[in-house]
Every structure is written in structure tokens, then in C-alpha cells.
Amino acid sequence: MDPMNYIVLAALLFTIGAVGVLLRRNAIIVFMCVELMLNACNLAFVAFARMHGDIEGQVIAFFVMVVAAAEVVVGLAIIMQIFRTRRSASLDDANLLKY
């Protein structure tokens, strides 16, 4: 199969993730959409690595997984903290800072 198809799939997943971040209101769901975007990046890197006959893109995918895991640790801690304070993970409720 033409590896370009995987690039198109990656772009689709990335877009779904980006739209999800912009439209969803629950911090956890928003965060999951960001993870979807990062995984779309991984797919693109691996597919391009295949096209170029190069190992670099696959190595990058591993690095990105590690970074995404670190991000989960920090992100969930922050979301947990705000949930415990407000009893809600909705981003619409977090609206003290404005203007």
C-alpha cells in the first residue's frame, strides 16, 4: 500500500484531535485529544521513515511516546488538583481569570 495513505490518516487523526481540543469542555477529554494529536505525529513520522527508507523517524516515535508519558504525569496532576478544588473537570467552570 502506498505509505502516503498513512500520512493522510495521520493528518485526519491530527485534525480530529485538534477539533476535539477546541470543542470539548472536559479537561480529561481535551487532554486525550492532545494525546491523539501526538500519536498522529508518531504515525506520520513512522510512515515517512518507511518512505525514506530511514530509521530516524521510528526512533523519534519512541522519544515522543516517552515525552507524552511525562506529559500525562504532569497534566493529570494539574487536572486532579483543580478537580479536587472545584469538584468539576469542566473547563467552562474555570473562568476566574479574564479581561
Binding site: 505525529c41 506520520a44 515525552v67 487536572i79
Partner: protein, 549 residues
């Protein structure tokens, strides 16, 4: 036909890891790791002093190492790559790293400041604000000494960011810089709801933008067949990797440039990617805001300059129009919104956005003069903004109360505390770019480079925007000195040695760089008289050699 995968080859010569040139980064990293260990093994009462000492020592050592490194660089303006080509070291990078180290040291003074045994950070961040447990922890005098290792890790990311020589390293640096900052933002002692909200907003938007950066890097990798900056540059000149030689890879490159730019412009806070800045700057503990406003901005611009000058330097015509639009939007929109602000930290945040717009005009210029102008501007702005935030930490609602954000209630500060108000007035005049301050020299250097590169309309917008911003800076000065206070007026807490030191350093740097900018301009910054191409200052031949397959 799909070519075969190249199996990883064990080369005869091991990759060149130049530990001497890596030493500043290694020092800061080692100190961060040590700090984490100290958290686990040192008794509670002694942690704070040890952590502060460790952090200060590490940053001082890193700075000394950076200064010593200049001597071991090639005599011409070129640089070298280290650690198998993932990091570049040249004079420009060392200037950025040195600036970040010094600014981080000064912010560390602000971070370590304590008043009545309490610092700016929550006693125990895990407790719910207003709860019984929180009160118990405050009474027990608990404190988060983890702040110092977190700051060290953030500084490590900032030092790596402008030095990265490929997109993977740059992405890792971006995350190493950002993750500790997300946490630090949520640790304020007072107004914890604001602080937690700032952390969530910063985190989600930051992660969102770094995903854009990464997808852009993937597109560029697809186009060029490598993420190494030197190789991307060669690929851009050759029209893409081998599989794209027909010229049909161009959309990939354009998408890549656009998406990478979104990620980086978010970090510098340019309009339309600036929305996080006022919220985060207002909600975060003020010492952390100072760290972000100075060091993070310098690091992000270092990376931005590097990306646009080195890998994408060969296709300037494809990114310059985009940066034109962003620069104009940034200077106009942020200046107009800033006029309506009532909170001092939000106002300084919008001011930081406007300044990012001014520096962008130098990036658009794309010349060595532009690079030098941006470097001077960032260093000068860093010191001034640190001083301004140091003043903000001292003005309170009442003795022992929280910081006074509302600008209208700053009336009468000039009478109550003339020295403090005078220092803030100087910082604001420097922000406005009044002659005899560092802000004027910085603006002049930046605009001069932009005019020389033919971006005169941009400079006209910049000057008009400066005029608008001058209005609200002067308004603050008028409020402080010439308006009668309502009721009791603001309370000024006595500056401790650390905060006082930060303000003095800010005043000294603002005046020195304004009155005697010569030494910095002539000796520390790249100059076009050396005959070097604008990009040659930051690109290095070694990266294309070691990375070549």
C-alpha cells in the same frame, strides 16, 4: 518502489561527544537530579537552604563554563556541533545561554524570597484551598522545596532550546522547559484558585501547541528525509529529499514551516497565539511569572531565530509574509487590548506580547543585524521585566496581605515609597523605549535592522504601536505619582535583601545598557561587518558533515 530500510550501522568511530561543550547543560541537569535526591534524603528543616545553595551554585557554574567555552570555539564566527550533531554551540547560542543563566539567577533571588518565614508558594499544593488540611500545613510551616529542582529543570530546557540542532532535540527541550513551568504556575500561596486555573490553561494550551510543533516537524521530516537542521537546509536548497525531486514535496515543506511556527509563536506569545499569556502571568506566583517573562521569552526567541535562520533560511520567501502578518497583528492588537487593562500583572503580560511583536520585526529582517538587534532587545527586556515584577511582589493590599493587582489602587505609591515607584517608573519608561534606557537602544537596533532589510511598513506600525503603549505606561506613572490615594492607598512591604537586589540589578542593567550599550553591541553580538552571511552565524558546517549519510 519503497527503498530498503537502512539497518543501523555501528560506525567504526564512536560519535563525538564533546563533554567540555556539554558541561553547562550537564551541570544544570546534574544539579536538578541532585535536588530531587535531596528532597528524598535531607531532613525537612535543612532542605531549603541546601536547595537554594545548590541551584545558585549550579547556575553560577554553568555561567562560568559558558564564558570559558567562548575561548574554545573556532576564531571565525562559526560554531561546532556536539553529541553527534544534536546540539550546536556558537557565539550566538552562548550569548542566549549566558543571558538565560544570568536572568535565571536573578529570578532565583525572587523565588527564594521569604517574608515572615513564608515564600510565594503554597504550603502544600495537594491540599484543597480553604480546607482544614491546608490550614494545618500553613501552621506547621510546610513548604515546597521541590520548586528549586523544578526551576533547574526548566532552565535546562531553556538552555537546550536555542542550542538544538534538530527538531527532535528541540521538541524535547520544549517539553523539558514547559513541564516544570506548568507545575510551578499552579503553586501560588495566595489566590490558589487563580493559580490552579492558570496551570490548567497553560498546560492544555501548551500541550496543544507542542503537538502542532511536532506535526510540523513530521512534515519537514517527510520533505527533507531528516530532522537535522543542517540537512534540512541542504534539502530545502535541493528541492526536497530524493523521493520528492520532482518538486511535488513543496506542500509538505510549507505545512511544516507553518505548523512549527505555530508551536514556536505560541511560546513567544505572539498574536493570535497569545491568549494564554495574560491568564498565566496573572495566575502564576509572581516570581515564576518573572522567570517566564524573562528566561522563557529569551529561550523561545532563540529557538525561533534558529529555526527560521538555519533550516528554513533557504526559503525565506515562504515564511516572511506569514511573520509580517503575525508581527503586525501582535504589535497592534496587543497594544490596543493593553490600554483597557486594570490589573498590573495582566498589563505587564500584554506588554510582553507587544515586545514579542517588536522582536519579531527583527526576525522578519532575516539579517545579521536583525539577529544582533533581537539578542540585545531580549537581554535588555529580560532585566527590565524582572525588575518590574519584583516591584509587583512588594505592593500589597495590606501588611501581610496579597499582592495588589488593581492599578487604580496604586494611586499614591509615589508618595508612600518614592524609591520603589521611581524604580518602577524607570522600568516602564524603558518598556516604552524612552532614550537613555536600554529599551530605547533595543528598539532602535531592532527597527534599524528591519528598515535595512526593507521592512519599513513594519517599522511604521511598530513606532505607532510604541506610541500607544507609551500611553498606558505613562498612565501608570501618573497614577502612582500624581493621583491622590483612595482611602489608605497601597501598602508597601519592606523589600528583603533578595527582592531589593533584583530591583537594583534591574535598575542598573536598564541604565547601563541604555547609557553604555557599546561593549555589548561591539563585543558580544554578531556583527555584519565580519562579512558573514546572516545564517552563517548560526549554521555550522560540522552538522552537515557529521549528519551526512
Amino acid at each position: 518502489m519503497i527503498p530498503h530500510m537502512d539497518l543501523p550501522v555501528i560506525t567504526e568511530t564512536p560519535p563525538n561527544i564533546d563533554w567540555w561543550l556539554l558541561a553547562p547543560l550537564a551541570t544544570v541537569f546534574a544539579a536538578g537530579v541532585l535536588g530531587v535526591l535531596f528532597e528524598a534524603f535531607v531532613p525537612k528543616g535543612r532542605r531549603r537552604g541546601i536547595q537554594i545553595g545548590l541551584a545558585v551554585l549550579a547556575l553560577l557554574a554553568a555561567f562560568v563554563l559558558l564564558v570559558l567555552q567562548v575561548g574554545s570555539l573556532p576564531a571565525d564566527e562559526s560554531g561546532v556541533t556536539v553529541a553527534a550533531g544534536v546540539l550546536a554551540v556558537d557565539r550566538t547560542v552562548i550569548f542566549f545561554q549566558g543571558t538565560i543563566t544570568v536572568l535565571a539567577l536573578v529570578s532565583l533571588l525572587l523565588i527564594s524570597e521569604r517574608r515572615d518565614g513564608r515564600d510565594a508558594f503554597a504550603a502544600q499544593a495537594a491540599t484543597v484551598p480553604g480546607s482544614e488540611e491546608e490550614r494545618a500545613h500553613i501552621m506547621a510551616g510546610s513548604q515546597h522545596t521541590e520548586v528549586y529542582p523544578l526551576v533547574l529543570f526548566a532552565v535546562l530546557g531553556m538552555l537546550m532550546f536555542p542550542a538544538s540542532n534538530d527538531f527532535l532535540t528541540m521538541f524535547i527541550a520544549l517539553e523539558v522547559m514547559s513541564l516544570p513551568l506548568y507545575l510551578l504556575c499552579g503553586l501560588a500561596r495566595r489566590r490558589r484558585l487563580f493559580s490552579q486555573e492558570a496551570a490548567v490553561k497553560y498546560f492544555l494550551l501548551g500541550a496543544f501547541s507542542s503537538a502542532f510543533f511536532l506535526f510540523g516537524a513530521a512534515m519537514v521530516y517527510g520533505y527533507a528525509g531528516s530532522v537535522n537542521f543542517g540537512e534540512i537546509r541542504l534539502a530545502v536548497e535541493a528541492g526536497g529529499a530524493e523521493i520528492f525531486r520532482g518538486g511535488d514535496g513543496e506542500p509538505l515543506l510549507l505545512m511544516g514551516i507553518g505548523l512549527v511556527a505555530i508551536g514556536l509563536l505560541f511560546k513567544v506569545g505572539a498574536v493570535p497565539f497569545h491568549n494564554w499569556k495574560p491568564d498565566v502571568y496573572q495566575g502564576a506566583p509572581t516570581p515564576i511569572t518573572a522567570l517566564m517573562a524573562s528566561c522563557t521569552l529569551v529561550a523561545a526567541f532563540g529557538a525561533l531565530l534558529r529555526v527560521f535562520f538555519v533550516p528554513f533560511g533557504g526559503s525565506a520567501e515562504s515564511w516572511q509574509p506569514m511573520l509580517w502578518v503575525v508581527a503586525v497583528l501582535t504589535m497592534v492588537v496587543a497594544a490596543v487590548i493593553a490600554v483597557t487593562q486594570r490589573d498590573v500583572k495582566r498589563l505587564l503580560a500584554y506588554s510582553s506580547v507587544v515586545h514579542a511583536g517588536f522582536v519579531l520585526t527583527a526576525v522578519v529582517a532575516g539579517s545579521t543585524d536583525g539577529l544582533a538587534g533581537a539578542m540585545f532587545y531580549l537581554a535588555a527586556y529580560g532585566f527590565t521585566t524582572l525588575g518590574a515584577f519584583a516591584v509587583v511582589t512588594l505592593v500589597r493590599t495590606r501588611d501581610g496581605g496579597q499582592e495588589l493587582g488593581d492599578l487604580d489602587r496604586w494611586a499614591g505609591l509615589g508618595r508612600r515609597s518614592p524609591a520603589l515607584a521611581g524604580a518602577l517608573a524607570l522600568f516602564l519608561l524603558a518598556f516604552a523605549g524612552i532614550p537613555l534606557t536600554s529599551g530605547f537602544i533595543g528598539k532602535f537596533a531592532v527597527f534599524e535592522a528591519a528598515v535595512a532589510a526593507g521592512a519599513t511598513p513594519l517599522v511604521v506600525v511598530g513606532v505607532l504601536s510604541s506610541a500607544v503603549t507609551a500611553f498606558f505606561y505613562v498612565r501608570i506613572i501618573v497614577v502612582m505619582f500624581f493621583r491622590d490615594p483612595e482611602g489608605e492607598g497601597p501598602t508597601v512591604v519592606r523589600a528583603g535583601a533578595a527582592t531589593g537586589g533584583v530591583i537594583v540589578i534591574g535598575v542598573a542593567a536598564t541604565l547601563l545598557l541604555g547609557l553604555y550599550p557599546g561593549p555589548v553591541l561591539d563585543h558580544l553580538l554578531p556583527s555584519s561587518e565580519a562579512g558573514s552571511e546572516p545564517v552563517a552565524v548560526m549554521v555550522d558546517q560540522a552538522s552537515t558533515e557529521t549528519g551526512a549519510k
